[in-house]
């Protein structure tokens, strides 16, 4: 039995007819067509599927589509601030080479944006623990941490 769910995704209202067992991740990727959010493990252990649910980061593979009725969801496709305006984190990730294969990148960006929303000036250690739920198999994290630090600095200096 499908259920009708109304939800706002990246500022746009959607009405979706969903089977109750389907994950938010599958709904975003397959029903809404937002494939920027990645499936790394599907069991809540890699963070590749991180999106913001009412401003809080969640593993979208662990959330059911039918649970999100009335909520606001932000995915990587909505992080950008305009057609030509990247989020400062996106810009910093590019400048710092924080993506190699790029498969983990959307999840890290969503997690980091939530981190900076909550704590605009995190220490390096706070960053490392803040993103400890996300796996990157390529970079060794150094450049991801540096990018998040740089974005926080830019924000503080009002550059972004």
């Amino acid at each position: 039995m499908k259920r009708i769910v109304e939800v706002t995704i990246n500022g746009e209202r959607h009405e979706l007819a969903l089977e109750p067992y389907r994950s938010l991740l599958d709904v975003l990727r397959n029903d809404v067509g937002l494939t920027g959010t990645k499936k790394g493990c599907d069991v809540g252990d890699c963070g590749a599927c991180t999106v913001l649910l009412d401003g809080k980061p969640v593993n979208s593979c662990l959330v059911l589509g039918v649970e999100v009725g009335g909520s606001e969801i932000l995915t990587i496709e909505g992080l950008q601030r305009g057609p030509e305006r990247l989020h400062p984190l996106q810009d910093a990730f590019m400048r710092h080479g924080a993506a190699q294969c790029g498969f983990c990148t959307p999840g890290f960006l969503m997690m980091a944006s939530a981190l900076l929303d909550e704590n605009p000036a995190p220490t390096e250690e706070e960053i490392r623990f803040g993103i400890a739920g996300n796996i990157c198999r390529c970079t060794g994290y150094t450049k991801i941490v540096a990018a998040i630090q740089a974005a926080a600095r830019d924000k503080a200096e009002g550059k972004a």
């Binding site: 993506a99 400890a132 060794g140």
Partner: protein
Amino acid sequence: MNEPRLVAADLPAHGGVGVALRHESAHLHVAGEATYIDDMREARGTLHAAFGLSARAHARIGALDLAPVRAAPGVVAVLTAADIPGANNVGAVLHDDPILADGEVQYLGQPLFLVLAETVDQARRAARLAQVDYQELPAILTVEEALARGSFVLPTVTLERGDAQAAIARAPHRLKGALDIGGQEHFYLEGQIAYALPREDGGMLVYNSTQHPGEAQARIAHALGVELHRVAVECRRMGGGFGGKETQGTLPAAAAAIAARHTGRPVKLRYDRDDDMLITGKRHNFRVEYEVGFDGAGSILGLDFVFASQCGFSADLSGPVNDRAVMHADNAYFLPHVRIVSHRCRTHTQSNTAFRGFGGPQGMVAIETVIEAIARHLGLDPLAVRRANFYGPGRDVTPYAMQVEDFVADRLCDEVAKSSDYGARRAAIRAWNAASPVIKRGIALTPVKFGISFTSTFFNQAAALVHVYAADGTVLLNHGGTEMGQGLFTKVAQVVAQEFGIDVDRVRVSASDTARVPNASATAASSGSDLNGMAAQAAAREIKARLVAFAAERFGVAPEAVRFAGNAVEVGDVQRLSFAELVNLAYHGRVQLWASGFYRTPKIHYDPKTLRGRPFYYFAYGAAVSEVAIDTLTGETKCLRVDILHDVGRSLNPAIDLGQVEGGFVQGAGWLTSEELRWSDAGALQTHAPSTYKIPVASDVPADFRARLWSRGENVEESVHGSKAVGEPPLMLAISVFLAIRDAVAAAGDGRREPRLDAPATPEAVLRAVEALRAGGETQGGGA
């Protein structure tokens, strides 16, 4: 931005060779717009596939009742081995890797049948409904059992020089020991995937996350029973590979293609993560035994190694992987009398495969552990023992008879010892350990010398296509290499931009595609930019030569007077025009504006029977110092500081190279400290998800992490702009972490006895080692 640039700028072109340019897909990565295969818009009628997996390690299949699977909702077809029109094999070397098990299963997790359904969910649910009558057969699950039963995928190989046993017997000091080195799951973030679309006239197009599209193409064609020219395999990018998609991406590709042929519909097969970990092979785990004889300075006089690796149920790449382990058992050290025996054990487990380093890391862990054992036995600084054994003048021939002509490990070790303050810190650690009963610290400095080239000489070839479009002077580049995040496409684009003197954003790299460049080798052995960079450079140079000849004639100057720089072409002092203008003129002058380039690595030769020759074009080097602290009450380990100096020759792209160094190191540290694979007594992999298999996260990486590229790096051989390969070698820098932990554990004893600590050095393993040492029990090495 695609308007032709009609005015030549005076600025130099942006993004040539040596520039710390960002990854060519960076803007797509950060926007979520980089398309991986599972992100592609699905064609009408696409079916989704899932494998039914064996639930036994070794059994004959008495009966396979698939009726309940066929009856499940959404199921369109269920295929077994009998439905494969051609060869039921994806084995790359031997033909021993079935696509679907036929009559007998050889490991728990082996694909037995393939379900096709309208949705992923339906396919996966249905795959669990089969009734399988397993008639169990005895299963060999460990290296020990395989050795005892003489179970091997390939014959044992011995590399020998001089008389190791006699030299050991004569030596003033002798040690004997053993070490187990665990395997490693690749955990590429993007799992294995293929998407097959049937084409007219028996054709098949397969999108495949693979490091070797050409191999996939051949296996698909053979499985379908069609000629290779009907099959095209394409890969724009992978979400990580690390060797795990060198051969093992081929299985989903062949299966999806068979299913697409069978149903006439597009078929996507994406492994669920659990299935991925159950089906695919990993880094080989090794059992190492050593016996070494040495003098009072720690100089090795004779060394006898016995390696036994777990290959799993089939040969896959186990032959060359184990050969490479043997060829890296010297690392940076001259071994006058040496014997290395290499057993390739057949077990009823996943077929172990390529993984960054390809056997080299296991060989290197072995010799570096021996070096540390010698140092502890003699009470010397391990760095002094390393120096006593380094290759050098008159002692520069490897056990496989290759002369080492470019040795710099000694210089790297000296420099990193200095910059990391190794000597003073070792003294400080000794003082700390004397005063600290619970927390012990350890330090290790290890070099890396890694041979670059495929040991199968014929693989060392590459081809590229360069197109220049007349209407706007933009360049399209295609080569046989694949992009898995390592930055290959970026580097090769830089090489081409450099030749033409144009901005790198005027060069685009298109997806690896067997229909464009045939017979391409795997992107592996760290050779991607060496091989494809040279091939692309050759193609660009050919076009450039034609443009030069054209311009010289047209404007009546000598060819030497035609220069390409800053997106412009200077034709003596007669003319200065933009690259696009010249290209356009040349087109109208009927000049061919595309070319193919080919490269094969010179000088190399190697006889796999005798294990002798010059398998490597050159060596890549590095050195690292790691310091750790362990808690002797809990076994908890913390890496405190890492200093790395790595030689990439003259870097094509320092940003990308440094990223490879950092990422490789962390992946290696994971392998040796936290990533532990466990199988049950029934052969079921217990660690088949990241919840039970511990991959390093950001908080596991030492905050004090100082990685540098060696500014004096050169390649003595002629390589693309003097660069060196960088994909694999840095992984082995992490051996310093493992040995630093052993150093700390040894400090929990009297500092002289060798701890019994295998890899990975998990907290449990560290705790066990500390307790064994303190109880005065069995240790790993002992005087012989």
